[in-house]
């Protein structure tokens, strides 16, 4: 690859565009509203939202990697948060145990979906949609059963610190961290690193991507396609549960409302970040950037006094525009692949002729 190729590649990569867009928007909003740089009132809540929604986006991204979808991200997040909350309230579980139980519960729901999809052969939409309906009913019912106020607020040591502390609360001697950076963002960074490592370095990840780009070819290459489908759905449930737990920790209480606004965000992040709906390609960093962009736009508009309704109209429009871009990318990629095949065909013909 020549140098100009690489520069062209960086420029045409939509992550570069996203970064530029984010910088422009931050500068623009900051210039108009200096309040935007306030660590306490804007930066901290914004980074907390980015942290939570990035995990939600990753949860959708891992399923998109095999060309499927998880419509139950919100429900799985609610289950994860609920199980963790119950473990804290009724089991007096320590922080990490409750978190682990929540993740296992979310993963189990995801795995159930994956098994029905992979071995029952049912479309992923249908299964996860039906699952989201079942969870929509199940979660409030269980909350009403275990806790009179339908919300669980617990004084588990470490929970509120994890959810609300910022780096400035962490001091070694007299030096404290910078203001406005929530601890939760580090949980997200760890999750991003793990998922990136999985897809970039591990055999499982490569197999998953191959399954997504062409499942028949993957099956013929001795890749256990059904097992990979179950893997991604389990992982998706686990990540959704993590996001639900993080939201519960940051707001201080576990309620049935957790996860209700996850669905749109879960698609916005990966699609803006360049993950293909058709499967076969994922971008962890792109998902993070996509979420960052939407959260910044959201926060900025809130500063300008735009109401929730305006935000919804805007976010829906962004999704539609991103989708059209996704389609264009897909068509272009397809053409490139076709060209490659034609080239390969002629080489074979030449070889045969010779």
């Amino acid at each position: 690859m020549s140098r100009s190729d690489r520069i062209g590649g960086i420029l045409s990569d939509n992550r570069t565009g996203l970064i530029a867009l984010i910088v422009v928007i931050v500068v623009l909003i900051g210039a108009l509203k200096p309040m935007f740089y306030s660590p306490q009132f804007v930066i901290n809540p914004m980074l907390t939202s980015i942290a939570i929604f990035t995990v939600v986006g990753l949860s959708q991204m891992v399923v998109l990697s095999v060309g499927q979808m998880n419509l139950a991200v919100g429900g799985m997040a609610a289950v994860g948060a609920m199980v963790a909350g119950i473990a804290f309230q009724d089991g007096d579980a320590p922080l990490l145990l409750g978190l682990a139980l929540g993740l296992v519960a979310g993963g189990a729901v995801g795995m159930l979906c994956g098994v029905i999809i992979a071995y029952g052969g049912v479309n992923s939409f249908v299964v996860t949609l039906a699952m989201s309906f079942a969870l929509l009913g199940l979660v409030p019912t269980i909350y009403a059963w275990v806790s009179p106020g339908s919300a669980i607020t617990v004084p588990t040591p470490g929970l509120s610190e994890l959810g609300r502390w910022q780096l400035s609360d962490l001091c070694i001697g007299d030096t404290c961290g910078p203001d406005g950076i929530p601890l939760l963002i580090f949980v997200t960074l760890i999750a991003m690193l793990v998922i990136w490592f999985l897809f970039a370095k591990l055999r499982v990840g490569r197999e998953t991507l191959l399954t997504g780009s062409n499942d028949r070819a993957a099956l013929l290459s001795a890749i256990p396609v059904p097992r990979r489908v179950v893997t991604v759905h389990t992982l998706s449930g686990l990540l959704a549960a993590l996001a639900g737990f993080m939201l519960g920790a940051s707001t201080g209480s576990f309620t049935p409302a957790i996860g209700q606004e996850f669905m749109l965000q879960s698609f916005l992040g990966p699609i803006l970040g360049g993950t293909l709906l058709a499967g076969g390609y994922v971008s962890v960093f792109g998902t993070f950037l996509g979420i960052t962009l939407t959260v910044i736009i959201r926060q900025g508009l809130l500063l300008f006094g735009v109401g929730i309704e305006g935000l919804n109209i805007l976010l829906g429009s962004i999704l539609l525009i991103a989708l059209s871009a996704d389609r264009i990318r897909h068509v272009v990629g397809q053409r490139a692949r076709l060209r490659a095949v034609r080239r390969a065909d002629t080489t074979i013909d030449e070889a045969v002729a010779a």
Binding site: G67, Q68, M69, I116, G120, G121, V122, N123, F125, V126, V127, L129, A130, M131, S132, F133, A134, L136, G137, L138, P140, T141, A144, S213, N214, D215, R216, P256, M263, L264, F267, I271, L277, A278, G279, G280, G307, I308, E309, G310, L311, N312, I313, L314, L315, G316, S317, L319, L320, L323, S324, D326, R327, H330, R337, L338, V341, R342, D345, I348
Partner: protein, 348 residues
């Protein structure tokens, strides 16, 4: 003829009818017969009309293998816009009712056009339009409730009780019958079913799949508009919450009613019966004074069970047909074949 009778007995509709009869008996016994009193029956059917129509609206998109997440948003937006036009702009009530229906159809048409132009799965497109329309609905009505006193003509329709049963229920039934006849006899509807059943075969038979998609989404939007009309006729007012809880009901009725989610089939009677069953569950919930989330739990579990069972049933039916002779050795991948695989991958 005998086998046909046998097949009829085994269909989903029979099961649903039995469930309805048993449910009615249980509720009647539980309420000491009050469940069958005229007022109770009127309320039952009054709140059954809208679920039937939104179930049919979802069915129209499912028939071409698509989904319409924006059912509630289209209905809510159409009802609220019409209400604003009547109350604030001063349009006559009947015109507002027609406008609600037209807005629904136009929104559906736009959904269909976006799906066809971007070639993106209808689910994601309607997720986006749902968000946009729900935002727009809130933007136009805000926190106010426009009372139904502004449109007495429409309220008269909602209050009419021919044969002791609300007129709006008769309207819903009439629309269901029209749809059933249409899906059986009309060319455009047969084309939609063909596109939903096997897009490739439909294309090779000279049917425009894109045309079918647009037609199905428009029909779905039109039905949402009719649901909005019924909202104006029967509810005491219009506000931002209208349409918010339609999504589950819209999917549950066709799925339980036996509509295949991969497209190609419709079940108008099944959808109507399933909507009735859901209404019974809701009545039972009220009779036993349970939390409303129980209804969602029961319906969600039934939908999940139906989806899983349906698959088992179809697999058993098609299992012998799967034993085809081995395919001839595949030729070298041609660009056309590759495109097809990619498209199939995208559609999966």
């Amino acid at each position: 003829m005998k086998t046909r009778m046998g097949a009829m007995l085994r269909t989903q509709n029979t099961t649903l009818a039995v469930v309805i009869v048993i449910g009615t008996i249980i509720l009647t016994i539980q309420s000491d017969g009050r469940f069958l009193s005229p007022i109770s029956i009127q309320t039952f059917f009054q709140f059954l009309a809208i679920p039937i129509i939104i179930g049919l609206a979802q069915m129209a998109t499912l028939a071409v293998g698509q989904m319409n997440l924006a059912v509630g948003a289209i209905g809510g937006f159409a009802a609220c816009s019409a209400a604003i036009l009547i109350a604030d702009v001063g349009l006559p009530g009947w015109l507002g009712g027609i406008i609600a229906i037209v807005i629904g159809a136009v929104a559906g048409l736009l959904n269909g056009l976006i799906v066809v132009l971007t070639q993106i799965n209808g689910f994601v497109v309607t997720l986006a339009t749902m968000t946009i329309l729900a935002g727009a609905q809130y933007a136009i009505v805000g926190t106010r409730t426009i009372t139904a006193a502004s449109w007495p003509e429409l309220q008269a329709i909602g209050a009419a009780r021919p044969l002791g049963i609300p007129l709006i229920f008769w309207i819903a039934i009439a629309i269901a019958i029209l749809l059933a006849l249409g899906y059986r006899h009309m060319l455009v509807a047969r084309k939609m079913l063909a596109s939903g059943g096997n897009p490739l075969a439909a294309k090779l038979s000279g049917i425009s799949n894109n045309g079918s998609l647009v037609a199905a989404h428009t029909l779905s939007g039109l039905l949402c508009g009719i649901a909005a009309f019924l909202v104006l006729a029967s509810l005491p007012g219009a506000n931002k919450s209208i349409g918010g809880d339609w999504l589950l009901a819209s999917f549950a009725a066709p799925i339980i009613g036996g509509v295949s989610l991969v497209g190609g089939t419709v079940a108008v009677l099944g959808t109507v019966l399933a909507a009735t069953v859901i209404r019974l569950v809701d009545s039972a919930r009220a009779a036993f004074q349970l939390d409303p989330s129980w209804v969602n739990l029961v319906i969600g579990a039934v939908v999940l069970g139906t989806v899983a069972l349906d698959r088992v049933r179809t697999q058993r039916r098609t299992a012998p047909a799967r034993r085809r002779p081995p395919a001839p050795p595949a030729p070298a991948p041609t660009p056309a074949a590759l495109t097809r695989t990619i498209d199939e991958g995208a559609g999966a």
